[in-house]
Symmetry: C2
Subunit: 479 residues, 2 copies
């Protein structure tokens, strides 16, 4: 049993009394996730101002054999950055090290197209800093106003820009990390090419804080698009959407910045919640796609390209209808429908959201298989789905009305069972049960259930090699 | 001391007598590198036909405590795939497992843009298979007609396409690997997004066969460009070339498929060797750049884009002159100059080639620093250089005339000393001593000299975690 008072005093000595929180009310925002689903006991929350303080905090915790929980913007969906069921009694209560004070952008290089930021930088701040230098940071998603880049790196955050720019992993050129023994690895290089041994940085990306605390990140930037175009496409089937995507990729290539598929039920849900919203066209279509193109060349005529291509897709019988955004306001209106999904879904019923991916060519078959599996067992469920289709990533959401849900005797078990059906269907197509959200604590069972034991063994051996005491974010990713 | 005869019989039992070579003349092409610089004793060379055989070969070697040397096309430049100084006497002689019989393309998916190939596939075969499906595999370099994809993955091969498509690492979606204990890890997924624990595949990419044998690879493909354009640009300085690159990136974005910088001495060397070749323009320029653009949109007018942009660069004073290739033949003539470099350099003197990278904005300063350091100590050296400039990668080559070189008393030591000066200059700018060639056996000393001990310790712990007996390609990457 560690001497908590002594440890906390030591932490206060490192970061200052004001930067260690222990009062129940003060620490509540850090010890429970934003949806109120997961919580746990902690010794306190410490806020380091720099890498040296982070290193000293870790060393102090390790000496006291107290677990360390690295925390960023705390916007995750699988409990990776939250204490989940930790307790003083069994020694699992951690010290949370929250990086939000380390929020400096250290460098922007518009010749080499790189940016160096501290882990606590808000994603949106990084996007804005890049834009000020006429460059773009490629990752974008709903939580960008509050999530932090250190958390983005630790979860390999995805979003709607992956199709064009890749996920967070693809942006990471270098890292600075406080290791589980408190030492600092300075791998903050900004090189595009560096073949000098094992790719250490790639291990920390997506490790969800189990191998160390990311304290700074070197990111790649991209040229900022000068022109954009958007279209609202409707289709009869996922297969047709897929044909459209393949044909568009052949012609528009990397100009495709988004290809977001929604099913009719999803659209109806959004429209019900935002009564002022209007569908751009064809409200009865089974599927709709928000397509966005972007280009760096100001003279590029993207609308003209769409006017070239879309009729070809129609002729093939793959398109029902299409509307090209005629103005910036219209483009925003298209995105408003897409961005309204989370809020609308929360109000519409109990949605059991999943985050699967399958090879793009198997998307239609997966959706059919998963829908059949779920509705066979739960006929009261409605299938709502939105897909970053170019990445094969589907948020496949079996939804229960609140009445149906409240009538269920074993809700937690039902939620797990429904999700397992969806994950099984994805596995059948060599897919994944977590495309962009990570494993955290919530999906450990699924990792163990769905991946070969050898894969878990390899991960465990890595974790033991770098964190033999296993004090770093225990209970996350691996048991 | 292992019973070699017994082991070889066991290997023959696995792959068949015809597929284990032991005669000195037969094994010579496998035990000495193509430049005749490195060699070592081996028990034999085995050629498995499939993953199961590879696994059985590894298990047999491990039981006999005999080292395993995975080998692909054997085109490497740092001795990674060659036995270097191994001997029966000290127990370091390995069995070479050469993958060339495993050369099947298992799948091409033109909807999901993926290709699955066995490790022994020749790179060019993969490029051609992609092209047949109207897709492109993004990695291209000199040895593509003989190097194998397994070796490409194990060395994270680069080349001239990295600027647009990334290096081999960026193409690898999944791997199948025979681990150092003979078990097979099937991580052959083709997903764009999969956040389920540590990124195991990234550890094998660039590990140069020290963590296992890659037996199959899932690769990403890209839409095949429909139009291309090339220009030959000349500049007064590296700084001006850099300004041109940054401005071109802002406008042409990902259309830039190559931006290859050559200095005047390099051009003169090529012209001396190919007397029929002509420079497109401005033979007296200190620097020239071969610029290539490509686009998927057949209607895109890339020549028109160049005619838009190049005058802007001239007005800024960054360009001396420019010639746009007016025909396919002219574009090929530009590339002929670029591709003639290796051959011309070999004939022109003793070139001490290096493979460094620095942040792009520091390229000019690096070249000046390195040139000064080398010529101060070796005034007889001429600096020849060619750079994949968009990646910050420079093949910086101090060259001695054959007469000067032969007059040197300690040639090997001089070569090391010259390269160390270049590597030191790169380190000064937070660069790397091996951008694309890897570490192999040749650059281990430099890895130890130039990287923090903590970084080597982390790598050693990884290696021990997965290969505690350290039988896999010992003496490569890490001591």
């Amino acid at each position: 049993m560690p001497d908590t008072a002594m440890l906390l005093n030591e932490l206060r000595g490192i970061v200052g009394t004001d930067h260690v929180l222990t009062d129940a009310a003060d620490i509540h925002p850090y010890t429970e996730d934003w949806r109120g689903r997961y919580r746990g006991q902690v010794h306190g929350v410490a806020f380091p101002a720099n890498t040296e303080q982070t290193s000293a905090l870790v060393s102090a915790c390790v000496r006291a054999s107290v677990p360390v929980l690295p925390q960023g913007g705390h916007t995750g969906l699988v409990g990776g950055g939250t204490p989940v069921g930790t307790s003083f009694a069994d020694g699992t209560a951690p010290v949370i090290i929250n990086l939000r004070r380390m929020n400096r952008i250290r460098d922007v290089d518009s010749v080499g197209n790189t940016l160096i930021a501290e882990a606590g930088c808000i994603l949106q701040t990084i996007q804005e800093a890049a834009a000020q230098h006429d460059r773009l940071y490629g990752v974008t998603f709903g939580a960008q106003g509050s999530c932090q880049i250190g958390g983005n790196v630790s979860t390999n955050a995805g979003g709607t820009g992956v199709l064009k720019y890749g996920s967070t992993r693809d942006q990471v050129l270098g890292l600075e990390v406080v290791l589980p023994d408190g030492r600092v690895w300075n791998g903050l290089r900004t090189l595009r090419k560096d073949n000098t041994g094992y790719a250490l940085r790639h291990l920390f990306v997506g490790a969800e804080g189990t191998l160390g605390i990311v304290t700074a990140v070197a990111l790649r930037l991209h040229p900022k698009p000068a022109v954009m175009a958007a279209a609202w496409l409707t289709m009869d089937s996922v297969d047709h959407a897929q044909q459209c995507l393949a044909a568009l990729q052949s012609i528009a290539g990397d100009r495709i910045a988004a290809f977001e598929l929604l099913n009719q039920e999803q659209l109806r849900t959004v429209l019900a919640h935002f009564p002022e919203a209007r569908l751009p066209t064809d409200p009865e279509a089974p599927y709709a796609v928000l397509l966005e193109l972007s280009d760096t060349y100001a003279q590029a005529n993207l609308d003209g390209m769409l006017e070239d291509v879309l009729p070809q897709l129609s002729e093939k019988g793959w398109l029902r209808d299409a509307a090209i955004a005629g103005s910036l306001a219209q483009r925003h209106a298209f995105w408003h429908l897409r961005h309204g999904i989370s809020e609308a879904n929360r109000k519409a019923g109990m949605g059991l959201s999943t985050d699967v991916a399958v090879p793009v060519r198997d998307l239609a078959a997966f959706i059919e298989t998963a829908s059949r599996a779920v509705t066979a067992r739960y006929p009261q469920a409605t299938i709502v789905l939105v897909s970053h289709m170019g990445d094969g990533n589907v948020h496949f959401i079996p939804r229960f009305s609140f009445d149906d849900w409240n009538a269920l005797p074993h809700q937690a078990e039902t939620a797990d069972a429904v999700r397992a059906l969806v994950h099984d269907a994805a596995s059948q197509f060599n897919g994944t049960f977590s495309a962009e959200h990570g494993v955290g604590s919530v999906l450990i069972d699924e990792l163990e259930r769905l991946r070969p034991p050898l894969e878990l063994e390899l991960m465990q051996r890595l974790r033991n090699a770098w964190d033999p005491a296993r004090l770093f974010n225990p209970g996350k990713v691996l048991r």
